[in-house]
């Protein structure tokens, strides 16, 4: 079934107005420029990184702040060799029970390792990123966090990045 853009536009306006009316200090940002980079090598020779806004962090790292109405615009670096069982999820705006029982539903690190082992991708990045997506005012995400995340993944040698929400 093709997506009906009139319906999507209506849902988008409704979402924006809900955020504005229910969250103090709510604001909005979109990308001025989408960007469109291309793979510089076939995926079979590309290092792939993951980013999720599902509140993922590693056991022992500072959990995300979930009791602040302003959200939490910080991020957590997740090493590529993380033990999957050490992943934790701090987020109160979606049901984290699936992620807690199997982190791969939002952060498919085991599947990515299998893809590397099978030769479908070149390698699993040495660094991935966890964020907590609830941020009524996205200014700091847009102006600070996003660029830092991009730099870290570039430094880690990621040649492609896959992203998933909570």
């Amino acid at each position: 079934m093709a997506l009906d853009h009139e319906i999507l536009d209506e849902k988008y306006r409704s979402w924006l107005s809900r955020i504005a009316s229910t969250h103090h200090g709510a604001n909005h940002r979109v990308n001025d420029e989408a960007g469109f980079a291309r793979l510089s090598a076939p995926l079979e020779r590309t290092t792939v990184a993951l980013v999720t806004t599902a509140g993922a962090h590693v056991r022992g790292q500072q959990p995300f702040t979930v009791d602040d109405v302003a959200g939490d615009p910080t991020f957590r670096p997740i090493p590529g060799d993380v033990e999957t069982a050490d992943l934790r999820f701090s987020h109160t705006h979606y049901d984290t029970s699936s992620a807690e029982t199997d982190p791969n539903v939002v952060f498919p690190i085991d599947r990515l390792r299998e893809s590397a082992a099978a030769g479908r991708i070149g390698d699993v990045s040495s660094m991935h990123i966890g964020m907590m997506g609830f941020n009524p005012d996205p200014t700091e995400i847009a102006d600070v966090t996003a660029g830092r995340v991009a730099s870290i993944l570039a430094e880690a040698g990621a040649g492609a990045v896959l992203l998933a929400p909570g």
């Binding site: 990308n31 989408a34 469109f36 793979l39 705006h93 992203l163 929400p165």
Partner: protein, 92 residues
């Protein structure tokens, strides 16, 4: 808001020269974020790659993202994946 955060980070990564592909469960947000490549899947929030402990399902979704990276020809490419959630009951 998770989707807006994904979109903003995705844009920064692309502008840094690294190609990206994102999953979305809320296409109404994603189509307005101005991003490179996204795949809409009709799964509930918290489960973008599918149900827990169904690695075969996760693999299909992951492969679709790989394919999207390989085949998209320009920004604001949004595809819809054909999978359906089996247990919507508790989410309705």
């Amino acid at each position: 808001m998770c989707h807006r955060s994904v979109g903003l980070v995705q844009g920064a990564i692309e502008r840094a020269g690294i190609p990206t592909a994102a999953l979305t469960l809320r296409p109404e947000i994603t189509i307005h974020m101005n991003v490179s490549r996204a795949a809409y899947v009709r799964f509930p929030l918290g489960n973008p790659f599918g149900e827990p402990h169904r690695p075969g399902q996760h693999r299909l979704v992951l492969e679709d993202l790989f394919t999207l990276l390989e085949t998209a020809t320009g920004p604001n490419t949004l595809i819809e994946l054909p999978y359906r959630w089996k247990r919507w009951g508790k989410w309705l």
